[in-house]
Symmetry: C2
């Protein structure tokens, strides 16, 4: 009899697991996916660009058409079908379809890919012009509303990834945009102040009004529509529409029903094989926590590359293989206002909390050789631990995509537990059309090495 | 009394050493540079672009104007002054200026930065229309000759870095270009066949006639001008000008006069502090060999980033500091015909010679997410050792600069002795405008992991 594998959630992580099982076991596995929405293998990261009409259709935001999974890969997919309970001892799930049909399905292995959800005061969403943006359908509703109601002015609440990208896209549509963020700087989970300031300067240059360090205490309105966001201190900002992007939290409802262990971060706990505390249940994607390979602790890091790899790893193990997902070092990236923005590791401000004594180098440099025009500027910060010399973080911003790549080089070095000496020494190549002969990364290493003067470079470890 | 430091050669490596000593010791060091030519801190890598008029003036090819070194950094520089002998026991050099003036100069420490030189049959250079390209002055002579003689057709001899870049630049000037290369593929020192073929296809698309696998046996001409390059087998190629770029060799003349140890590669031997076999003589740049951190052996790797770092390391040590240059992993890069071309580590073809059993993944993929237009294609090859799983090389070609950066990520991983499992696992970030969620590097890792099926990923090491 075929191995019965049930996957809950048809996002990238879930479909990655489903595909991997079928790939390895083919007819020896029956893989069934339950998805409460109507989309498969979708890219939530792309939704701001759909709102901004840079991505024309929602179909473009799926990695593959449905038939790729059903016809070609032989996966059974139930759309608009929500899994409402997991009976772990009996190894079966209960589902309910959009039409109200209920059913039970037994599994040999279950994969929970239930994702994350926005944290929003419930009463805010009672207004028809207040939106979150955490699904393709929500993206569609926002875009429709903007057009149908000739929206002129939008307040975006929250200056994290989604907030910043939505604000940029709304400006691209010619809307007046106010971005309200409760902290003193945007993107404060991943950027230190000096790098975030560059993003803010660019945002303002693009016409976004930034209201920083103020919390939205309430939305007020009438006739079913919100009119004003009331801020800490009593000021208010008016708008025709409000997009609430206040951060997300892992969706652990089913995991809790199944009695699975929830980790210290509030997300589903798994071991490095992506197995939960129940040996027949795996979990992957934005609903799970993972290992922080830099600090050695646990971290909830809901980004797509990790989710995809986790799906691949879970699928491999379910199929009888031997694979591990080793964790993350907190790499992430975005683009906004013509900038590539990237970070990895810890922010300098956060590093002491993990037992590090941070030292940092911050520099502004040209991305290419002067005789190739120099290229756009890059603002680069690299952070190391004063005691061991280990690299513990990097952040960069530039109009040039090398900001993204240079930070990923530091990510690869951090992965290998590299020191500032390694940052100086690793064999960075050079071509004048791509970088200066003293790459900004190498210069950052030189600046950092000043903090270690008198110490033998090789003993930094 | 101030420490007297003499540097022979004002290229980037030499000036890097000179600057570092002055930076650390200031008035406690007297640094004197002898340079047989007229340029300081020059970028030889830029000369093909000067020939192609993409770099307008030779001054642009110097990193800093002369005054930066003399006035601001307090370095004494003697241009057009050749060091003709080193009397190591007496710790002094003998020099001769362009005007014929001779002299002796004593040193506490000597830095040899004598560079490399092209390997060309001496009689070829007797023709006034035959050139090498290994100095700014030669670049100037070529550019002048092309204009003054209305050159229509040029034969470039040698399909290495210089040959390929010169060929591209001459096409950019509208010349007919024939590139003759003795091996079956261009860039055969750094690229395997399948990657080199992409470059060749692009070269032909740009109108360069490629003659591969044939050696130029002789140049024939009359009236002081070469007219034909006679190839193996008797065929000949005619042209108005000939640029000979047949590879370079380390310039060890002074090192041999000083009785220094020459390494197994034919370049000057140094320890990791960049000290030669004479404790008062350091050597840096294209004249020295270094450690191959991948194979553990010695390698002559005459590229600018290594030279600059070696200068920095030598200068630090001369000034009483403690720095080491740890070697290279054979990273290099170039651009030609709209392509970024990069490589690191060993070619698959060469790997067995160093005791590796190579397995490789080769793929063609889009550089960005499909809903951001996909970006240009990248051709990527990653090579690993079948026994240990260690990464031992990567090569990439793309119109997108990410080819350059992705290879440098592998370079950083190789530096950390990473395995294919690390290539899968390191925390590569994702933003749809920069890469697909499954980055081509991660896909290469997945392909490579097939060669290790059944082995615990973590035990690959």
């Amino acid at each position: 009899m075929a191995l019965r594998v049930v996957v809950v959630g048809a996002g990238a992580a879930g479909m990655s697991a489903a595909s991997r099982v079928k790939r390895l076991l083919r007819d020896k596995a029956e893989v069934v996916v339950f998805e409460k929405g109507g989309w498969v293998s979708f890219a939530l990261c792309g939704t701001p660009y759909y709102v901004g009409c840079r991505v024309k259709s929602l179909e473009e935001l799926t990695y593959y058409p449905l038939e790729e999974f059903t016809k070609k890969r032989g996966i059974r997919i139930n759309l608009y079908t929500e899994v409402v309970d997991v009976e772990a001892d009996a190894r079966r799930i209960r589902y309910r379809s959009r039409g109200g049909e209920e059913g039970v399905y037994e599994y040999d292995y279950l994969v929970l890919a239930t994702g994350a959800r926005p944290r929003v005061p419930r009463d805010w969403l009672g207004y028809e012009n207040v939106f979150t943006l955490h699904s393709l359908d929500e993206a569609d509703r926002i875009r429709s509303f903007l057009v149908a109601n000739s929206v002129k002015r939008v307040v975006v609440i929250g200056g994290g990834y989604t907030g910043v990208e939505v604000a940029e896209n709304l400006r691209g549509l010619g809307k007046e945009v106010v971005l309200v963020h409760s902290r003193g700087h945007v993107l404060n989970k991943v950027l230190d102040e000096e790098i975030a300031s560059i993003v803010e300067e660019k945002a303002r240059g693009h016409g976004v009004e930034l209201v920083l360090g103020k919390r939205v205490e309430a939305l007020e309105g009438q006739g079913g529509r919100a009119r004003r966001a009331v801020l800490t201190g009593g000021d208010a900002v008016e708008a025709d529409a409000f997009i609430v992007a206040p951060g997300i939290e892992p969706n652990t409802v089913l995991a809790e029903k199944a009695g699975l262990r929830i980790g210290e971060t509030g997300a589903i706990w798994t071991d490095e094989h992506m197995r939960t505390s129940n040996e027949y249940i795996y979990a992957v994607g934005d609903a799970v926590e993972t290992r922080d390979a830099l600090t050695g602790g646990r971290v909830w890091w809901p980004f797509a590359p990790a989710g995809n790899k986790q799906g691949y790893v879970a699928g491999t193990n379910i199929a009888g293989g031997e694979a591990v997902f080793p964790g993350v070092v907190r790499s992430s990236a975005l683009g906004a206002f013509g900038l590539y923005i990237a970070s990895t590791g810890l922010r300098e401000e956060d590093a002491p909390r993990y037992g590090f004594r941070p030292v940092s180098a911050y520099l502004k440099a040209r991305t290419r050789s002067h005789y190739f025009g120099g290229g756009p500027e890059i603002h680069l910060k690299v952070i190391a631990d004063e005691e061991t010399g280990r690299l513990i973080g990097a952040q960069a911003v530039s109009e040039d995509s090398s900001a993204f790549w240079r930070v990923n080089i530091v990510s690869a070095l951090i992965w290998g537990k590299a020191t500032v000496w390694d940052l100086f020494s690793y064999d960075q190549s050079y071509w004048p059309g791509a970088n200066p002969v003293w790459d900004p990364l190498t210069i950052a290493a030189r600046l950092l090495l000043r903090s270690f003067r008198g110490r033998d470079w090789r003993t930094l470890s």
